[in-house]
């Protein structure tokens, strides 16, 4: 079986490269095909890379605080590009300042993201989540994570 493919990148005018490098390494180690478009990535670059490589997921990082502005409309653009059902995860320091994560998560779920991670998350959890969401884990299917369910519901 082919390795599941994902597109990894840091969105907007954001140059934080360290977490990106670690995620690349960790997801590769975990058996994924990682297409790493690096920092300063536009929404278009994410979508084009996904279409070209037939990826099953986008892993969007935003560290520098402009995540809310930069991520807006990404789901809609995916839909327009015909990959509206692709999984989209987002993580990092998504907003300016120390804000209640519950509210931040809610905002991003409403923007169409499937999973939203709090600052400083270690790779283990998103790796497990992605395997589950892609149905790669034994006896596991997508959607049982409440957040994921919520997004499905909102769309």
């Amino acid at each position: 079986m082919d390795k599941p493919t994902l597109v990894l990148g840091v969105i907007g005018a954001d140059v934080h490269a360290v977490g990106n490098r670690i995620l690349d390494y960790a997801f590769t180690q975990a058996g994924f095909q990682v297409i790493n478009i690096g920092v300063l990535a536009s929404q278009e670059e994410f979508i084009n890379a996904a279409i070209e490589t037939d990826a099953q997921a986008l892993l969007v990082s935003s560290l520098y605080g402009h995540g809310e502005i930069d991520c807006r409309g990404l789901r809609e653009k995916c839909e327009e590009a015909g990959i509206g059902d692709i999984l989209i995860y987002v993580g990092g320091n998504l907003v300016v300042g120390k804000q209640d994560f519950g509210e931040v998560e809610q905002r991003f779920l409403e923007m169409g993201f499937d999973r939203v991670y709090p600052p400083g998350i270690m790779p283990e959890r998103p790796i497990a989540d992605l395997k589950r969401d892609l149905g790669l884990e034994e006896g596991a299917g997508g959607g049982e994570h409440p957040a994921h369910g919520l997004r499905q519901h909102l769309h």
Partner: protein, 483 residues
Amino acid sequence: MEVTNRRLDQDEFERERQEVLRQWMTGGEVDLAEAVEYQKNLPRHKVLAYKLEQGKEQGITYAQPRAGVALINEHIELLRFLQDEGGADMLPTTIDSYTRQNRYTEAQGGIEESRTVGRSMLNGFPAVNHGVNACRRVVESVNVPVQVRHGTPDARLLAEITLAGGFTDFEGGGISYNIPYAKDVPLADTIRHWQYVDRLVGMYEEKGVRINREPFGPLTGTLVPPCISHAVAVIEAVLAVEQGVKSLTLGYGQCGNLLQDVAAVHTLTQLAEEYLAKLGLGPVSLTTVFHQWMGGFPQDEAKAYGVISWGAATAALAKASKVIVKTPHEALGIPTKEANAAGIRATKQVLNMLKDQRLPRTEELKAEEDIIRAETRAILDKVLELGDGDMALGAVRSFQAGVIDVPFAPSRFNAGKILPARDHQGAVRILDFGNVPFGQEIRQFHQEMIGKRGKAESRDPSFQMVIDDIYAIGKGMLVGRPR
């Protein structure tokens, strides 16, 4: 584009200047002669270069925060708060990330949206969009010098506006604000753009206005070995002085091992003086800035205070001229003004308590200094060799060749082959040299030091060790030991 380390031709500079000032509408507000007058009328205590020289004489380490928000009044309120409640010795104006990428239209959007939602949607102060007079309002609202802090590969317009706006210090450099801050911008371009900035500063200098320049020391802030950041700092000092800059603060980001950090601060200006002299440049006024740990922070505020205070202690024991302060919110997001002021107060408590203490010179300290000097010279001599004696040319070619290689940098003009790791005492050493031109002796030293740690941890040094080190301070350690 090819770039050489020669003072820009005045005519060429003037032509370029007209273009630069047209990049955004606020460029029209800049009038150099009037700006010089304005700067000359600033009281001395608001001029960063003078304050630094004063501190140097008295052996004081100053504390300076980072701070910037989207809107002018809120920004002024923030700076005043840091001055009054934090006791900041000098203030910053941190520029937002759109401005840093010259995306002024997006910055304008951020300004407007910030007005609408009532909180800053930008991670800094969009000085270009706000323009010269807004900058002056900022400078006039506080009683200490204000510096521009950013991360802008092409900062020509930003420099024009903020220097005309009364800021007396400008951070950055053609390498240090490219390699860690950009992906696709050729090094020759940014070096050239920063020659413009330095030339502008030189012109102010020639007209009797002293602007301090501060190359950005920490680079990616993450396990950068001192020799790498020192090499960059020295090159940027040389480039700046060539353009007429007379006052420089060289930077270094804390690694965490006391001896290595103190040795790094001690050697930094020494090496700059050495190469300036070698190239027939100077004299200039050199001071140092020590950055509290620039990599990943612990989320817990109490632990963050621990990291902050240890940075302050190291800065004081090393007698750095100033220290850039982190905050207890570091791992989570741009700090509130309260958290920012708290970081300054914790820092100043430690600085004050250690004001009259320094780390005594020991064999071990001397050994660290020697190794940093040897490493930095190995790099810089190769840079000069590759550049046929020209630092600018040499820098471009050195990055191409991986002779200078910044760990974890996003730029594709950086080789990205070097891998740093901590040794058993937490000093940052090099695990994979890439093409950094070290002789056998230096290589062996690094291998032995990391080897000792590997042995203590019963594992072979590998990328996993590097990852463990990246996470370590965030998890409450210095050295990323296996669980």
